[in-house]
Subunit: 358 residues, 2 copies
């Protein structure tokens, strides 16, 4: 049974709506064997959203988004994306049999373009979109106008735009609670903040429906170059756009306030906090995940671990707590930094010599 | 609970052995919405082995292989691979903390090299290995000798070499039976034949332990350019090596007899058959899976669907049967054929014009 179907009663979905699925959700929760102990944590787990059909948690959003578009007989799926939302929507559009058009953030990496194109999506890359805040907001408004002409909405993975489909992402929290092992702390990578908000709302919704063991603190982690929410949470301020996002971490570059103010309020209500991390440390944690834990994440997917490190440095986490880092997207989506070293060998005896030297 | 742990009693694993996991198995079984109906089939399902941790069914093998090497305190994981076995072993070697060395088949695609390298494996690409049968067999023997010097075996995903670890792959059949909906027919892509054999043995083992509903016919599908087993099954002959494999389908090029004769015998016992398909048809089915079913497979992963098409053309499948195609590996592993078409746009009004023309 799909995760949307399993938790249907915790989602506000019309009774008659048919739910599309490509096998999203039910992702593994894997105990850390190395990074957790190295950081002094007894119970660190990774939630592998990398193992969704298109390699990111956005499949939970897209499954519900396209179910809705199909029910509405929408003539088009029109979306904005830095890649992961687009790949997910492109895949689910095929089973809804709805043409998919994606306005891409300038600089979307090749791995994600390849995925979207494989699923037959129409790809439009717009200059400065997702980098310059004024241009980004203008394009959003323009796209909303186009969508209205088609009697549909624009697909953006944010509650501010698509509250219905974003409910799909709340299933992450339901899965974490359902194992009878609800965590004390969850670290979440944040760009526009939709994922963080979905996870906070998911725990809240679960605790209303079930006898919750305790509150789960939901923490919002951002790259320093795009601090739209993290400092605001820490300092009790409102979310604020940045003029120019300077982080290189694809997927977390959006300079606009999307779900920002709801994130600040609801993260604070969970007892969670905001954390800023450097791009360099994110890249180092990406490498550590792959080389120590066997988990191949894209850079954005490793941001949660960098945030956990900050929280521990600041003494804000109890080392006995059950802590979950959300690993949001698969490494294959953004391989620009990787240049595999391969030794080419013509004669077998050369290999024998090389191995004997090790 | 990991799939190896869940089905531990159906596997021959020493009681005291600790089983490593990265969340392998428990892969989705998705009903075809388009290809099945187009082919006239009422109940076609895809088993998405693409959604394993490193993107292929080889993770089921690697999880058990590294559990065994860890229990044996092996000093090295020495493997041969065309990419997927290597990526899986590289990932699980990190959590076993054992250095991983991979002798690569000549022509291993970049996506797979990137994965193996990300997990810190040492990569050796050997000229003509996996293409020329004489050279391939020589290199296999040489590697076995090196492994012996380290008091370990060579990691090849074949029962002929690693019968212990190959049991892990049998969990595919257990998962298919456990849903109470055991299929009548399963189509399996075959190179060396290990996957086909594991699936046949899995159904057999399940039927000994449980009251099986019926026999499942296991079908072996190969590209025409590497017919080591398919014709042999059909004609009641023995498996035979090919001098030079001419297929371009990465992962299914091995010209040697690995599990070939066991495959011929045991597939025949299930009532299954052998099917040959062209490289071109494989590529077309890969595209159809991505564009009609939202499933992004590597070319080898689409071979099962091409085989099913052949079987239907030859009138060898009952259209009311419950049929499963195994989709073995993810599209991101081999993107050489994909060149995404992206329209670059400087001003928003250009996008509006283009969309209005659609």
């Amino acid at each position: 049974m799909s995760t949307l179907q399993k938790y249907r009663t915790l989602l506000e979905i019309p009774d008659e709506m048919q739910l599309l699925t490509l096998g999203e959700g039910h992702t593994p929760l894997v105990r850390s064997r190395s990074i957790g102990p190295d950081l002094g944590l007894k119970n660190l787990f990774f939630k592998l959203e990398t193992l969704n059909p298109t390699g990111s948690y956005k499949d939970r959003f897209a499954a519900l988004a396209l179910s809705g578009l199909l029910a509405d007989r929408a003539p088009i799926c029109l979306a904005t994306s830095s890649g992961n939302t687009g790949a997910a929507l492109a895949a689910y559009s095929t089973i809804a049999n709805i043409p998919c058009h994606i306005a891409l953030i300038d600089g979307t990496p090749m791995g994600k373009l390849t995925q979207m194109y494989a699923h037959g999506a129409h790809l439009w890359m717009l200059k400065d979109f997702g980098k310059d805040v004024k241009k980004t907001d203008e394009i959003f408004e323009g796209l909303k106008g186009i969508a209205r002409e088609y009697n549909t909405g624009i697909q953006v993975s944010a509650f501010s735009t698509q509250p219905f489909a974003m409910q799909g992402v709340q299933t992450i929290s339901y899965e974490l609670c359902d194992r009878g092992n609800q965590p004390q702390d969850v670290f979440v990578p944040a760009g526009g903040g939709g994922l963080t908000l979905a996870i906070a709302r998911g725990f809240q919704k679960w605790s209303l429906a079930h006898k919750a063991l305790h509150t789960t603190r939901v923490h919002c982690v951002q790259p320093e170059g795009n601090d739209t929410m993290a400092s605001a949470i820490r300092n009790g301020k409102r979310a604020a756009p940045v003029d120019k996002s300077t982080t290189t971490i694809s997927g977390l570059q959006v300079p606009s306030i999307l779900d920002g103010n709801d994130v600040v309020r609801e993260v604070t209500e969970t007892g969670g906090n905001g954390y800023l991390v450097t791009d360099q440390r994110i890249m180092e944690w990406q490498e550590s995940l792959a080389r120590k834990e066997g988990i191949y994440a894209e850079p954005a997917g490793a941001v949660s671990v960098a945030g956990l490190e900050r929280a521990l440095q600041q003494g804000e986490i109890n080392v006995n707590d059950n802590v979950v880092c959300i690993i949001t997207g698969h490494g294959f989506k953004n391989t620009s930094a990787a240049k595999p070293e391969v030794v080419h060998i013509n004669e077998f005896k050369e290999l024998k010599k090389l191995l004997n030297k090790l």
